[in-house]
């Protein structure tokens, strides 16, 4: 190792004390803010050991809540996946007037208070709302039933896939697609063979985020659920119900499920990010041809 290289290294590297301070700060912040709340959940859930933990799942209402949660996510995620692809194509591959405005509208459900998201559906489908009387006359239930919960979930998770894809697709530009088109590929083929493989990992990450949010949403769903035990309670609502019934062990056991879901998706995510980096590295090499 030559002296100049060591010098350079030293200049670019942070001094030891700073390194220690930063790592210490990170460990402290992550420990206090992230690990402790997580630990509370698991410690409370396992207060009575494994047996008590498993006992918490011996509750048909809990399983119904899990089922409803999965149904809501199973509808919301594919819908927003398709939307995310379509929207990011329009937004990332073309320049047009009002783009920032459009992106902001797409982002809106992310920043809007979940209470408001619930409220708008009450205004639309409630008995005193726009469509309420008609729905009631036709014996259709939207809010206080599964469709309302699904709608609220779709609303809340609306931006996630699109927001993951748009920056990446913008960065990638459209040279590859143009090349494919000039070689005679159809637009559809170009999308399947060129665009999709390029964004597949970001897409998956978006889906994971979208799914996590769909399964964990509380505020918006709380407004439209009606809280009927075993019927319109999602997992987060069931957790609140258990907590309110002084059954905090079961509440935290259910919460641990969602936390575990989080941990599992994070594992997948780590793999995805590793792959993403590889893709980025590969695309930085001009000579590398994308295997399709």
């Amino acid at each position: 190792m030559s002296a100049t290289l060591t010098d350079k290294r030293r200049a670019v590297r942070d001094p030891h004390w700073l390194r220690g301070l930063m790592i210490g700060g990170t460990l402290l912040a992550a420990g206090l803010l992230l690990l402790l709340p997580l630990a509370v959940i698991f410690i409370e859930a396992f207060r009575d050991g494994w047996r008590g933990y498993l006992e918490s799942f011996n509750d048909p209402y809990a399983w119904q809540a899990i089922r409803l949660t999965i149904i809501a996510a199973a509808v919301a995620v594919p819908l927003n996946l398709v939307f995310g692809l379509v929207a990011s194509w329009a937004i990332a591959k073309f320049d047009f007037f009002g783009k920032s405005f459009l992106i902001s509208l797409i982002d809106l459900p992310f920043a809007v208070s979940p209470v408001i998201s619930g409220l708008v559906y009450v205004l639309m489908f409630g008995l005193q709302g726009w469509l309420g009387p008609w729905l009631s006359a036709n014996n259709l239930q939207i809010i206080f039933a599964a469709p309302g919960i699904i709608l609220a979930t779709v609303f809340v998770t609306f931006p996630f896939v699109a927001r993951e894809l748009i920056p990446l697709m913008q960065e990638q530009g459209s040279e590859e697609e143009q090349a494919a088109l000039s070689l005679g590929a159809s637009g559809w083929q170009t999308f399947w063979r060129v665009t999709l493989p390029n964004v597949k990992w970001a897409l998956l990450y978006g889906v994971i985020l979208c799914n996590a949010r769909a399964m964990g949403e509380f505020g918006a769903v709380a407004v439209v659920s009606g809280h009927i035990r075993g019927k319109t309670n999602t997992l987060p609502l069931h957790i609140e119900l258990l907590y309110n019934e002084y059954n905090s062990r079961a509440a935290f056991a259910m919460a641990s499920l969602l936390a575990l879901l989080g941990v599992a998706t994070l594992a997948v995510k780590t793999i995805i990010e590793w792959r993403l980096r590889q893709v980025q590295l590969a695309s930085l090499e001009p000579s590398t041809v994308e295997p399709s």
Binding site: P37, A87, S100, I116
Partner: protein
């Protein structure tokens, strides 16, 4: 250059995809939100103004926006430290920390609220050490801010990480070889190039904090004029069967959130443009 105007693009599908995007956006977001605006529009102006400007409501705006702003700033600082550490250093436990950054995002907000309250209240793990110091963490604006930092932190870390990873050592090395100190290098070279990402992360955390409800209500204390956030006030109005007032407050919140988001996106669009110009 090739895609400055949409008409010049050779790529197909603009009309189709934009049409579908607008349709779906309208169905899921715009029409429901229009219901909110229409409901508010039925209120006479003078009454509307009274609704959204009474002292208790104004106090809730101050708290909501104030706590969100402080929380976003703290998130930005902590988020920077964490992102820097995760990207630049290798140490035991790095992967675990990297993995749990998204945890606040995956947890239901109510669960976060309950867990944080359990930690910070008088007989909680952290609260019991703060109590003798005269610091009231739960049921105070401080508690609200902590909950909002918890919610906002992932957004800062996740926007900063890629920006920090993209920084190649060359500029830093050049600065160093020209005799710049590490501090000067940071202030002059590193900081400017990650500033856009930092601002975006800050704004995202801020936008998310304004709308946050589930985790805050458990820890807030909900005292009028003191620890009552606007989202809670909306719920309170609803539960008093005052849907009009709830809608009016919701519209104020909605416009504020939208303004923040628009600011972020215009900022990003400008940066992207500049970036492209350099290319």
């Amino acid at each position: 250059m090739a895609f400055k105007l949409k008409s010049r693009s050779v790529l197909p599908g603009f009309g189709l995809t934009l049409g579908l995007t607008l349709t779906y956006l309208s169905l899921v977001v715009l029409i429901p939100l229009a219901a909110l605006f229409l409901k508010t529009a039925t209120i006479p102006w003078d009454r509307l103004w009274l609704m959204i400007s009474e002292p208790r409501v104004v106090a809730s705006y101050k708290l909501t926006f104030g706590a969100s702003l402080v929380a976003a700033a703290v998130s930005a600082l902590l988020g920077f430290i964490i992102a820097w550490t995760l990207v630049r250093y290798r140490f035991p436990g790095r992967r675990i920390i990297d993995a749990i950054i998204d945890m606040p995002f995956a947890l239901p907000t109510a669960v976060s609220g309950i867990a944080l309250t359990a930690l910070l209240s008088k007989n909680g793990w952290i609260g019991r050490y703060l109590e003798p110091l005269g610091i009231k963490a739960a049921f105070s604006p401080l508690g609200i801010t902590i909950a909002l930092v918890f919610i906002g932190l992932p957004f800062v870390v996740r926007t900063l990480q890629p920006a920090l990873e993209e920084l190649d050592g060359e500029a830093e090395e050049a600065a160093a070889s020209l005799g710049a100190s590490r501090f000067t290098t940071f202030v002059r070279v590193i900081f400017p190039s990650i500033l856009p990402a930092l601002l975006t992360g800050f704004a995202l955390a801020f936008a998310r904090a304004i709308g946050e409800y589930g985790s805050v209500v458990f820890i807030a204390g909900n005292m009028p004029m003191k620890t009552e956030i606007t989202s809670l006030l909306i719920v309170t109005k609803l539960e008093q069967f005052d849907i009009a007032a709830a809608s009016a407050l919701a519209v104020v919140m909605l416009l504020a959130s939208f303004a923040v988001l628009l600011a972020i996106n215009v900022l990003q669009w400008r940066i992207a443009k500049r970036y492209r110009g350099v290319m």
